[in-house]
């Protein structure tokens, strides 16, 4: 299928405002009379708050309000929790602090300098408690408890067998066993989370500007926290300076701004500083310990996988174990593995809690699986590429149901692998490896073949529960399309601009359906009072879902215009087609009407139109998940919940210095298959950006909590993210296997880079250090860890 605009490198519509300093981020929004907030945070990991004295802060000129946790609860409710267990959280701690950086008091003042001065004057008397830092120790019956409402720090544990695990292991010839360690990281968007709340005490209405998502998906969650009626809350999106999953709800931030707005009767902006964001963003990534086994037949066929996982969730459990629901979309990767045991224990400790970060829990899943495959290649004496190829699901086996019940729509994994091997110039790099080894230098060639599940359905959040608190099954996306009386095309999105390209994507789709220039399509953003159901960006879903929503709306309007044009030209609608923005007689293009001519009739000439046609041209189209099924009752089949599955093969080339532990990336090759590519440069940008975040995950990003529970990485000087100096030349190529489930065959591409790069780089470092007997099983591979591993192997 060839298209005129879909798949073409259309200029990015979002760029001009971003290039000229007029983006309209939350920090740019100014409202008359606005106050500024600052948050006092706990230096302790675990402590009882004996008392708080804010009298000096309140007396400071310019200070309008100070709220403690208890005082804030007079204005707002507790944080929403999607877990079934009693793990209560408030925006500001009340009796206890449970992680270093937890809010204990907030200030609103006429400017931020004064708010921070006042914060320094607040005195808190803490009774320091034993910190719960090590999740393994935290599981013991005698461990100090993070929450008194729970009997144990193990807030959730479940072990599920999918297929005949015992039987497959019994008939296996080889079992490869490895442990894996994936540390806590965070999204670290350059723009922190922020909200500006304005409250009208006379009507009880509140307006909140923020950089969140979900305002057109779960707006009632915000209303519940803010203590305002759902129909009196208006959530206005701002342009977002990056999220990578970390800003879906930003409940604390919205709640703090809202509480202060209610307490002062004035608009209040709370914009995290970098310490707030790192220490308390409530959206760190997984922090997992794996014990993993992969069973093989005598022929090197993968039979069964067992994963025993301890996941350190931190102090709260807001989204429950959704990160494992996510991982269960693809735990067996691109391979024909017949059965799976998934055993997960979620442990609470005194750390900032998990949320979502690009990969959303499937990232460590890819890491452990590909490390097992590399280990197996070594133990079985089979080339890694050959072992993978031997076990790939084949192109004629799709749609393919994996053991958990999720369905993969389509793919051609061998084609992706073969292309990666071709472009990676392996002959050169293998010769280089040999040459350098003779000099005592260590070059490594990595390989990873991984899935990127895209387009989630809400069931992933809850199906690990038998009795979930909110077993939702909708994950829709909407757009509103209008063609005005002069034929001008306007689209209103229900999602925010999170750094991706929703304006460009919908313009391409609308342009495709009408045959008009995408540059002429105007795009705006709805707020929560005007937008229809939209889950927004997340789970690499947006291009899939916007394509469906925009195409649906375009078809409705185009059909109506076709009927009106046909009536005007005294023809049957079946004989009229829309080509290049004109409605014309099929086979007789001389008989035609422009979009403007048809639109004017549609708007103002009801008597001239077919009976039953309403005036105007507007349609809101809500596109529901295109292919989702529910889990079964005993949870032996979770249903299809993440079925548009992209795939990639990455080959990084590294040099490792075993003396200093330094890893230098020399070159990076990636071949990606995300189905039909909507816009090639934009997809390539997503992949390259994800790969570089993956370099961070592989080499440097990690939360370091000290033994006393305090955080050692609370600024960008300690929590390191990749700079230009860490980034090699990255070569990206594509294979396109269209999805049979979606409009135009698109699949998602937002997370693919970061879902593959960490394990690919682990493979490369392992390959480099193989002569020294090192196998990489822990990320990030910091210089300290590499030096220690080399020493341990010696």
């Amino acid at each position: 299928m060839s298209y005129k605009y879909v798949g073409k490198p259309t200029p990015r519509k979002e760029d001009p405002k971003l290039l000229t300093g007029r983006a309209g981020y939350i920090g740019d929004v100014v409202v008359p009379g606005m106050l500024h907030a600052a948050v006092l945070r706990s230096p302790h990991a675990h402590a009882r708050i004996r008392s708080i004295d804010a009298s000096a802060a309140r007396a400071l000129p310019g200070v309008v309000c100070v709220l403690t946790g208890a005082e804030a609860l007079e204005h707002i409710g507790p944080m929403a929790a999607f877990c079934a267990e009693p793990v209560p959280q408030t925006a500001i701690a009340t009796e206890k602090v449970r992680y270093p950086g937890e809010a204990v008091a907030v200030v609103a003042a006429t400017d931020r300098y004064i708010a921070e001065d006042a914060r320094a004057l607040i005195e808190v008397d803490y009774e320091v408690l034993e910190p719960v830092v090590d999740p393994i120790a935290a599981m013991g019956p005698d461990a100090a408890r993070v929450h008194d409402t729970l009997d144990s720090n193990v807030v959730f544990h479940r072990s599920l067998d999918f297929g005949d695990v015992e039987g497959d292991f019994a008939r296996s010839a080889t079992v490869v066993r490895r442990t894996g360690r994936w540390h806590r990281m965070c999204a670290t968007p350059l723009e922190t989370a922020g909200a500006l709340a304005s409250w009208d005490p006379y009507t009880g209405a509140m307006t909140v500007w923020s950089n969140s998502n979900f305002y057109n998906f779960l707006p009632w969650v915000f209303a519940g926290i803010l203590g305002v009626p759902t129909n009196r809350l208006r959530l206005i999106p701002c342009t977002v300076g990056g999220s990578f999953g970390s800003k879906h709800l930003i409940m604390q931030v919205v709640a703090i701004a809202g509480a202060l707005a209610k307490a002062t009767g004035r608009p209040v902006r709370y914009l995290e500083d970098r310490f707030d964001n790192i220490a308390a963003n409530d959206n760190t990534g997984p922090d997992r310990h794996y014990d993993a086994e992969l069973a093989f037949s005598p022929e090197g066929e993968m039979l069964s996988l067992t994963l025993k996982i301890i996941d350190d969730y931190g102090a709260y459990f807001q989204f429950a174990h959704g990160q494992h629901g996510n991982a269960m979309a693809q735990p067996t990767g691109p391979y024909r593995i017949g059965s799976l045991r998934y055993d997960v224990a979620c442990v609470l400790t005194n750390k900032v809690q998990q949320g979502f970060f690009r990969g959303a829990g499937a990232d460590p899943g890819n890491f452990i699986l590909e490390r097992l495959v590399d280990a197996a290649a070594e133990e079985l004496g089979i080339d890694g590429a050959e072992l993978r190829r031997r076990n790939f699901i084949q192109p004629d086996e799709f749609p393919y149901k994996i053991p958990t019940g999720n369905v993969y729509d389509s793919g051609n994994y061998a084609a992706v692998l073969d292309r990666a091997l071709e472009i990676a110039d392996l002959k050169h790099w293998k010769a280089e490896q040999e040459r350098l080894r003779a000099e005592g230098r260590y070059l490594g060639i990595g390989l990873a073949s991984c899935q990127e599940r895209t387009g989630y359905n809400a069931s992933e959040w809850w199906f690990l529960y038998d009795n979930p608190p909110l077993p939702a099954t909708s994950t829709p996306e909407s757009v509103k399309l209008q063609v005005d009386a002069m034929g001008g095309v306007l689209v209103e999105l229900g999602c925010p601009l999170w750094g991706n390209s929703p304006e460009t994507v919908v313009s391409q789709v609308i342009a495709e359906e009408f045959g008009i220039d995408p540059a002429g399509v105007a795009v705006t953003y709805a707020d929560s009072t005007t937008g229809a159901m939209s889950a927004g960006p997340g789970g690499s879903r947006l291009t899939i879902m916007l394509s469906g929503a925009a195409r649906g709306a375009a078809r409705t309007i185009r059909d109506k215009m076709t009927r009106i044009a046909a009536h005007a030209m005294e023809m049957s609608p079946d004989d009229v087609e829309c080509v290049d923005g004109t409605f014309r007689a099929k086979g007789a293009p001389g008989t035609s009407m422009t979009m403007g001519e048809v639109a004017m009739r549609a708007h103002l000439f009801a008597h001239d139109n077919p009976a039953g046609e309403s005036s105007g041209l507007v349609d809101t189209h809500t596109y529901d998940h295109p292919y989702a099924t529910p889990p079964n009752a005993d949870r032996t089949d979770m249903g299809a919940f993440y079925p548009m599955v992209s795939h990639a093969c990455h080959i990084p080339i590294v040099e490792v210095d075993p003396e200093t532990g330094r890893v230098t990336l020399l070159k990076y090759y990636a071949v990606n298959d995300c189905g039909t590519i909507m816009n090639p440069p934009l997809v390539e940008g997503q992949i390259m950006g994800g790969i570089v975040q993956g370099i961070g995950a592989a080499l440097m990003e990690q939360y370091e909590y000290r033994d006393d529970g305090t955080l050692g990485t609370s600024s960008l000087r300690e929590y390191l993210i990749p700079t230009l100096n860490e980034v090699p030349d990255i070569v990206v190529e594509h294979v396109q296997t269209p999805s049979p489930f979606t409009e135009y065959g698109v699949k998602g591409a937002g997370e693919g880079g970061r879902l593959v790069a960490p394990t690919a780089i682990a493979s490369a470092v392992s390959d480099a250090l193989r002569p020294l007997g090192v196998f990489v099983d822990e990320l990030p591979m910091t210089p300290e860890r590499i030096v220690a591993a080399v020493q341990a192997a010696r």
């Binding site: 001009p16 000229t20 350059l190 300076g241 750094g499 390259m688």
Partner: protein
């Protein structure tokens, strides 16, 4: 609070004679007093470069300088680059043509660092760009297209 300090500063060609508090950062002065929101607060510790502006032509972190230090200085922000009719500066055009931005939060700082580089080296090699922009963090693009953008802008100049 010490007395306010009077400064004469030129920002994007416009002369300002203003009183500032001694502790007001250049970044907050630009954003709050002049409503120039193109320089962004990413870390306020000098680590990320999102607040980069040009002070007397030199890339400067606006979060690490006080407005009071600006007496007699000339400041250039991203708002000065495009023409009033919307014509993009060649560096801005190169960024959009090479997809050198995604969320845009680091972009003004990158653009100004690039302008300063191109001023002293109109035809930089990729290695020159890497050197000149290595103090500016980007979390979206993976940098490769930023380097391409600046090299392309140089080719155009």
């Amino acid at each position: 609070m010490p007395d306010k300090i009077r400064i004469a500063v030129t920002v994007n060609g416009t002369a300002h004679d203003v009183l500032v508090e001694p502790r007001t950062l250049l970044l907050d002065f630009l954003r709050d007093q002049l409503a120039l929101t193109g320089a962004h607060a990413g870390c306020e510790q000098g680590a990320c470069g999102a607040c980069t502006v040009l002070v007397d032509g030199e890339p400067t972190r606006a979060c690490l300088m006080f407005a009071a230090q600006l007496d007699g200085a000339e400041v250039t922000t991203v708002e000065s680059l495009a023409g009033p009719d919307g014509t993009l500066h060649p560096v801005q055009r190169a960024f959009t043509e090479n997809h050198g931005l995604q969320c845009g939060f680091c972009t003004p700082g990158m653009l100004l660092a690039a302008c300063a580089l191109l001023e002293r080296n109109p035809h930089p090699e990729p290695s020159d760009v890497r050197e000149a922009l290595s103090g500016n963090l980007c979390r979206c693009t993976g940098y490769q297209n930023i380097v391409r953008s600046v090299v392309a802008a140089g080719a155009e100049v």
